[in-house]
């Protein structure tokens, strides 16, 4: 493998010394970039793009070139996992994801297979990981990812996005054993999937728990965090002679930071509802922190964006273990120039905290 030219991100994940704070952005390969929209159009659609290793690599590298991101993140969708488990996934034009055959009963869940060989069911993702690594030529590390078992379960039971999560909550409350069976199958599938990504070249992995925040404390621990821990316990933690950091991001989970930090992960992803100095004081130096600018700050004028970057850097202060990011994904209607200024501001303003 080519030697890594910029390993700021990996070092920050492990709370090692860096010359400046590394920065990447959730959904950095996304619709706010005209370059991305052009590639997706060539692919013929979103799922088609996910299934083309060459085009996946193209959109994954765009923000490295355009923004100067310190890490690339595999372009894919969290729902390719349930799809590979046999569910029928579609994306209508301008709509969210839909499963035509949502899980509603114990029998539905029992019939669901565990993915044990991702090079079989999700080979196109493995090929994308390999292609991206080839194309990156060691410029920055590549992050692999998956949805959390709970987050995947919400889509699989609801049949798509949801406002009230009535069906998945009803299953959790009324048939907890069925829900646990589903989550266990998902955790083991996700562990195999992430290990596949690591084996094919992912140098860090992030678990996206987008919907953990809709749970109570007790339910979060029992139905979301426990299964992320089950994944983490199974992960390959070293590859190509380096540690493979694991990032856990639970949107709306800022009340449970200490528990997340104890999950076995290396990095806790923050949303923007908490000040990063408060998070750091609560967690201490057990893990690194990733975040946490309000993504809508990218609608502000460039000078206001820079001011906010400076504020977050100052709150984190001196010392190691900060990966700059947004608190959630960038939205499609953000001006490209604003994203560029965000990255530039982090690069320029963070140097003083690492002397």
């Amino acid at each position: 493998m080519t030697e890594l030219k910029n390993d700021l991100f990996l070092r920050a994940c492990l709370r090692q010394d860096v010359e400046r704070t590394p920065v990447w952005m959730m959904r950095q390969a996304g619709r706010y970039l005209p370059e991305y929209r052009a590639t997706r159009e060539r692919a013929g659609g979103f799922l088609e793009l996910c299934r083309s290793p060459e085009l996946c690599s193209e959109v994954t590298l765009q923000p490295i070139d355009i923004l100067g991101a310190d890490a690339a993140i595999l372009f894919s969708d969290i729902l390719v996992v349930p799809e590979a488990m046999g569910m029928h996934l579609s994306f209508g034009a301008g709509e969210g994801p839909k499963f035509s055959d949502p899980l509603r009963s114990r029998t539905d869940v029992e019939k669901l297979p565990v993915l044990d060989d991702p090079t079989r069911e999700l080979d196109y993702v493995m090929q994308a990981v390999r292609t991206i690594r080839r194309d990156l030529q060691g410029r920055v590390p590549l992050i692999g990812f998956s949805g959390s078992p709970w987050t995947l379960a919400t889509y699989m039971v609801e049949g798509g996005g949801s406002k009230n999560f009535s069906k998945v909550k009803a299953m959790m409350f009324n048939e907890p054993d069925t829900m646990h069976l589903l989550l266990a199958k998902l955790a083991d599938s996700v562990a195999a999937y992430l290990n596949g990504q690591i084996a094919h070249g992912a140098q860090a992995v992030q678990i996206f728990d987008t919907w953990g925040g809709i749970l109570t404390t007790r339910d979060y621990r029992e139905f979301s965090l426990a299964y992320m821990q089950r994944i983490i316990e199974q992960l390959t933690r070293e590859n190509e002679g380096r540690k493979v950091p694991v990032i856990v991001y639970t949107k709306g989970g800022m009340g449970w930071l200490e528990a997340i930090a104890d999950s076995g992960c290396d990095v806790v992803g923050l949303d923007w509802s908490i000040d990063i100095d408060v998070a750091r004081a609560r967690i201490g130096d057990r893990v690194a922190l990733q975040g946490n600018m309000d993504p809508t700050m990218l609608y502000a004028k460039p000078e206001r964006i820079r001011e906010e970057v400076k504020d977050i850097l100052a709150r984190f202060g001196h010392g190691n273990g900060h990966v700059f990011n947004l608190g959630h994904g960038i939205t499609p209607d953000v001006p490209r120039e604003h994203a560029i200024e965000f990255f530039r501001a982090v690069r320029e303003e963070s140097v003083q905290y690492h002397r």
Copy 2:
């Protein structure tokens, strides 16, 4: 005025002794009740229902009869305030609220009047309050309410509900003075509106800050909490010889409980993302707590609902200052029997904590 037969709610709000924990439910007059749907159909629509004092009273009293709620809450919509300030409000069939003339510029905000005489612009609400008090005949107290300035501003700037809140956030970041002008006008209008409700018979008031939780800590304090404080400072705090408790509910605001408790309110409304014992330990006995069952728990079987009620009661434990509620509004597809069981469980299971 008729003497109040059940004042458990008012006593609990003021942390006084009660024989059992009082309970009401956000959106208790709502679509999950066939009785409500029948009245709304007779009214000819949602806004028509809001504008009819007699039918408002009918739906406000339904959950008192059906569930045995310990408080009634005025049936209305938070957006009647911007409508009374001159904005054009509509509700499409099956859609959320829409303003055809959203606020987008300094000039738009400057032109907006402050409501100073709610008996003029919102007389139909004042008549509804009077009618409900007449019809309640002192059975339980009546809660008045308003949206928070920030929450109202999100609808007024976005023109309706929103996913990313891009326009209101852009105004806040790029034109903070314009946003402050809007929020000040709203705070003073809401204060006059709530004082009108109190003068006409509301015995407690709740400020609904549904969208405070999308802000960072700094922005929450500056753009939401500060304006709720501005309202509270102007409120009539005693009427008919009793204190008029003020409840502040910020969904997603559990990180800021201490600051909310210091706003001057009597009761802090909790969502379900925090355990009530943790909230009580953080806030102490400065204020009462309202909440906080996950509203989707009402999709569970009755025995599971009762188990959850018992858990929340046990977490709060002995002592005064708990008003039982959901952590957010009841959803339309909950079975009526489940809501009845929820109220029954609180009544029966809470007695032991007040001996």
